[in-house]
């Protein structure tokens, strides 16, 4: 007896050519299947390129975003120490400039409307970096040459003014020399509260707008000569920053802060990319599974004529790899095109111009990851081909039996491990943090496990609930769920997982958006006057009443700082560590006797006159977040520095404040007795029904009290609504990717068992079933599959979205149940439509086909 003589030729050289020929009839269809990975890669490339472009733009523009090499900012006029320090720097050849920002009312003489504007008073040379673009161009250079003003175009529109007109700010008049087109570092969103206007700092005094209690930001910008180390200057400035209540910002910090600000956007985009890629992978797996099912007979023949299992695997692996390259390649091209569209949908609310260019690294990594994901996901179904017995050629078995799996197949276990490792690696790299990536992978694993269990559950249930008296077509349809070679697991796993991913993304989006949403004021006020001085409030009150408008609220505002916490003074507390914002900030507090509509007590109780307190102490109520930051508890003492007067208090309540409400809210509230006699300004809220009435009121107020400002809340709300719409548009645009991929996944999942359906349908026809009966059988089957798959996916997504919001975005989560229910219904309908459409060959084939087949 001898072992078989193996011929000398290389058994592998012909494999690529066989793969090429073998794929002949299915190429077009395979490329369609591969579109799942194309869309996934497109999303990935677009997102990564945009993200890279964003980071690069932040880096490139950080100097012009800050406007100088260093900035010293303060909420109050610089103290003498800062001024002298800055003067010294100026003498050493360091460029020094300043920007003073505050809100004020602007009007055109003889015009009837006024508008709240954000004034920026700038010294010559500021900003030191970056260009302020204007229309007509180059007008920023002429700003300092007289009493000139540059305004946002929207201001001209609301005031019905034009370039060349005179604009009044406080007691000064300016000539409008042009409009602002682009100011580096000045965010478009900021204009929600009022259009920006730029005036020369030299004319600030004349406006007489900065009086007691006026809120203004002071910023000194420094330009260092080349070769100067900013660190030494920063160190010098920071030495005084606590005592002078100033903050020093460097270019690096600006870059870091900005990068942090856009981190949520980045994380969200990362999540979209991961979802798109995973959906793409599932699409590939389902598509390859469908393809493999069709190839069983061919493989059996190849095995009969001497192909080894390795050669068979080689042939189909080459096909899958080639398609992975093509699919991912198409995705890269698509993604490169899409990324040019992204700035238009996302750009408006970022404080910089994102310059888009092709990012070779993002393109290459997109291609690589795409091919890898396709191969990893394709390998599982392809390995089943090794099991196809040559006996299949003479005695045909149903496809799933022919592809029968063995759980303890080392190759299969290895592939599964590699796939799991790939998913974890991709999740970690997308999430940017190991913890988040592992969390995401765990969530994915749980989702797959639950889906797998529910497929087992549905088969089990179908077997038990089926009743003989049910109509034939329903019995057939439901029985198909557990019969040999059923498609239950394939469809529910891919559909359910797709539904899980898409719905998680949807829930995360809605929750992110709702964070931004602003609920309308309960008080119905639509016009707010602020910076009203103590001696002006009575006059303003009578102006409002003379217009027959109600005074909804009059709120006193008293600026103050924390003097000491318990026995320790603020200066002492800040030693040895960075001073907390809550310790450093200026508090604009108020006093009142009742709790506001947008706040609730979460600890302690509201002010009561009979409470026993140590002599000279008052009660105080603090916002819970501030209390947390300051580590304050009920009963702690805080001494406030109110314009030099010390007011000792005891914390008797903590409040949770809904800051999203359009109402004046405060971190700290005092009882009336504590602050009644302190120097203060007022905010007055009124409700004027028509825009004309609001215009008249604003005009009358600014004529009499030029320092007092007012905001027409309806205008602000409109602006914010416009910006939010833009944000949701951007998010929906990204979600489209995942939806498109999801549809492809569904299509592939149904296609996977198409051949089986066709065979069964044809056989049923041979036995006398009508097309309508077959149609109804499929309807019953796909309805159950669709309902179960999408419902399980949706339920899982509530958990997934909660975890995403909680752990990644660190924000509260509220499930949107109605949209989720609608989405479930939609997915179910889609499953039925795609299922029936995908099996339309069943209707087309004649019973003869069944007879011809052995």
């Amino acid at each position: 007896m001898t072992t078989p003589a193996l011929s000398g030729g290389n058994r592998w050289t012909s494999v690529p050519m066989l793969a090429w020929r073998e794929s002949r009839n299915s190429r077009k269809r395979l490329i369609l299947f591969m579109s799942a990975i194309s869309i996934g890669v497109a999303a990935l490339v677009a997102i990564d390129s945009y993200s890279n472009n964003l980071t690069r733009s932040v880096h490139e523009q950080s100097r012009s975003l800050l406007g100088g090499d260093l900035a010293v900012t303060s909420r109050q006029q610089y103290q003498r120490t800062v001024d002298s320090l800055v003067d010294t720097l100026a003498r050493h050849g360091i460029g020094v400039g300043s920007i003073t920002s505050f809100a004020s009312m602007a009007s055109v003489p003889r015009g009837s409307t006024t508008r709240l504007v954000q004034v920026r008073a700038v010294t010559p040379g500021v900003p030191f970096y970056g260009t302020v673009e204007t229309t007509p161009s180059g007008m920023y250079a002429s700003l300092q040459s007289g009493a000139n003003i540059l305004v946002d175009p929207s201001l001209l529109f609301t005031l019905r003014a034009k370039v060349g007109d005179t604009l009044t700010l406080g007691f000064a008049q300016f000539t409008i020399i042009g409009t602002l087109k682009n100011v580096p570092g000045d965010v478009g969103v900021a204009t929600a509260l009022g259009p920006r206007v730029y005036i020369p700092a030299a004319y600030l005094e004349q406006t007489r707008l900065l009086t007691f209690g006026s809120r203004a930001d002071y910023q000194a910008l420094l330009k260092l000569p080349p070769g100067t180390d900013p660190k030494t200057i920063v160190a010098g400035l920071r030495k005084h920053s606590d005592s002078t209540k100033t903050r020093v910002r460097t270019v690096e910090q600006t870059e870091r802060n900005l990068t942090n600000d856009i981190r949520n956007l980045d994380r969200y985009l990362g999540l979209v990319g991961l979802v798109a890629l995973l959906l793409g992978g599932i699409g590939v797996a389902s598509a390859i599974f469908a393809y493999v099912a069709e190839k069983v007979d061919t493989v059996a023949t190849l095995r009969c004529v001497g192909a080894t299992s390795g050669q068979v695997l080689g042939i189909y692996l080459i096909e899958a790899a080639a398609l992975g390259v093509i699919g991912a390649g198409i995705g890269v091209v698509l993604g490169a095109i899409v990324q040019f569209a992204l700035p238009h949908v996302i750009g408006g609310f970022l404080p910089l111009d994102v310059t888009i260019r092709l990012e070779p690294l993002a393109l290459l990594s997109g291609l690589g990851v795409g091919v890898w994901v396709s191969l990893m996901f394709a390998l599982g179904p392809l390995l089943a081909l090794r099991r196809v017995s040559p006996l299949q050629a003479i005695r045909r078995q149903v496809v799933t039996v022919a592809l029968g799996r063995r759980w303890l197949d080392p190759a299969r276990l290895l592939t599964s491990a590699a796939l799991a490792a790939s998913i974890v690696a991709i999740a970690v790299s997308r999430a940017g943090r190991l913890r988040d990536g592992l969390g995401m992978s765990a969530a994915i694993a749980v989702a797959i496990l639950v889906l797998w269990l529910s497929t087992a559950g549905v088969s089990w249930l179908a077997r038990r609930v089926l009743r003989d008296h049910w109509p034939f077509v329903v019995r057939q349809g439901v029985a198909n769920l557990y019969r040999p070679a059923n498609q239950t697991r394939a469809v529910i796993l891919s559909l359910g997982f797709g539904a899980f991913l898409i719905s998680t993304l949807y829930l995360v989006q809605t929750n992110l958006l709702s964070q931004l949403a602003v609920s309308s004021a309960a008080s119905n006020a639509n016009l707010v006057f602020f910076d009203v001085q103590d001696d002006q409030i009575a006059g303003l009150d009578s102006i409002v009443r003379s217009e027959h408008a109600p005074v909804v609220q009059q709120i006193p505002i008293v600026p103050m700082r924390i003097g000491s916490l318990g026995a320790r003074a603020t200066a002492e507390l800040s030693k040895g560590r960075g001073m907390s914002w809550a310790l450093r900030r200026e508090y604009r507090s108020s006093y009142r006797d009742t709790l506001g509509a947008s706040e609730k007590i979460i600890a302690g109780s509201w002010f009561k006159s009979g409470k026993k307190l140590p002599d000279g102490f008052f009660e105080v109520s603090i916002d819970d977040n501030v209390a947390l930051e300051l580590k304050l508890r009920l009963g702690d003492t805080v001494t406030w520095d109110v314009q030099g007067v010390r007011v000792p208090t005891i914390v008797t309540s903590l409040r949770q404040v809904n800051w999203a409400r359009f109402e004046p809210n405060f971190f700290v509230i005092f009882p009336r007795a504590a602050l009644e006699h302190a120097p203060k300004s007022f905010v007055l809220l009124t409700n004027a029904t028509t825009p004309e009435q609001r215009g008249r009121l604003q005009r009358a107020a600014v004529d009499r009290y030029p320092n007092a400002s007012s905001i027409d809340l309806s205008v602000v709300q409109e602006t914010i609504a416009r910006i939010l719409n833009k944000v949701s548009l951007a998010i929906r645009f990204m979600a489209l990717f995942s939806l498109a991929t999801g549809a492809m996944v569904l299509f592939s999942a149904v296609a996977a068992s198409r051949r089986q359906r066709v065979r069964e349908g044809v056989l049923l026809k041979t036995l006398g079933a009508t097309k309508a009966q077959i149609g109804r059988i499929m309807l019953a089957e796909y309805a159950v599959l669709g309902a179960l798959g999408s419902a399980t996916g949706m339920l899982l997504s509530v958990g997934g979205a909660w975890a995403t919001m909680h752990f990644i975005f660190e924000a509260p989560f509220r499930p949107a149940l109605v949209p989720i229910a609608l989405l479930t219904l939609g997915m179910m309908m889609l499953t039925i439509i795609i299922g029936v459409l995908g099996s339309r060959d069943v209707f087309r084939e004649t019973p003869m086909a069944a007879l011809r087949e052995a």
Binding site: S7, E22, L302, V305, I394, A854
Partner: protein, 226 residues
């Protein structure tokens, strides 16, 4: 030489063992033309599968050209098939995406042999399809498809050619031509032909007939070829 030694095949069916072949013994010398006949369910196809190494028996041995098939793993059997065995099926089993010539080339290409195309053309010409080499299976009639299948079965000059109801899907005239072709191959090349059929008229073309019933050989007779 093809030898079946105490060949037994048992399947598990509904938890009970079901013996479909029991204790089959015979020797087929090189160059034979033999028919295995029997009614449906008698175990013909199972026996063919075992003899050709498509499946492994529960008991006994199959020796093909001195090699014990039962001692080989699936891939070793596949290589052996590629070298020594040819198949002709009732339903032709051509690969639909390959042309006639490419279908014939496959066994050679799987072995990494050169000149596969020339050999395929030559064989197709010999079965009368020299002008249809670039046609796809769907463009050929049943008889033509079966001739391509025969060309493919013969392309690696097999020791044994197994034919499973090769005329089952063909009309009488076309079927007769296919049988003539098989006889010619047997005569001219000395290839052993193992024909499995339930059609006694077809079986009469063979020089020896093994009759199966209920999985056992009930008759093994030499006969004068028809």
């Amino acid at each position: 030489m093809l030898v079946a030694r105490e060949l037994t095949q048992t399947y598990q069916s509904g938890g009970h063992p079901l013996t479909v072949l029991r204790d089959v013994n015979f020797t087929i010398p090189d160059g034979s033309f033999i028919a295995i006949v029997g009614p449906s369910g008698s175990g013909k196809t199972t026996l063919l599968g075992l003899l050709a190494g498509l499946d492994t028996p529960s008991g006994g041995q199959v020796l093909l050209d001195g090699v014990d098939l039962t001692g080989l793993n699936e891939d070793q059997r596949a290589r052996l098939r590629g070298e020594k065995v040819g198949f002709v099926f009732q339903s032709f089993q051509l690969i639909p995406t390959l042309t006639a010539a490419e279908n014939v080339q496959v066994p050679l290409e799987l072995r990494g042999e050169r000149n596969a195309a020339a050999r395929a053309r030559e064989l197709l010409t010999r079965v009368g399809l020299g002008d249809r080499t670039h046609h796809f299976p769907s463009q050929l009639s049943g008889g033509e498809q079966q001739r391509v299948a025969i060309a493919r079965a013969f392309v690696n000059k097999p020791k044994v050619l197994f034919a499973d109801e090769p005329t089952g899907n063909l009309d009488t005239v076309t079927g007769a031509r296919i049988v003539e072709l098989l006889e010619a191959i047997n005569r001219e090349s000395g290839t052993t032909i193992v024909l499995v059929t339930h059609d006694l008229a077809l079986a009469r073309h063979a020089r020896r007939m093994i009759r199966l019933s209920d999985g056992a050989v009930v008759e093994d007779t030499e006969q004068a070829a028809a």
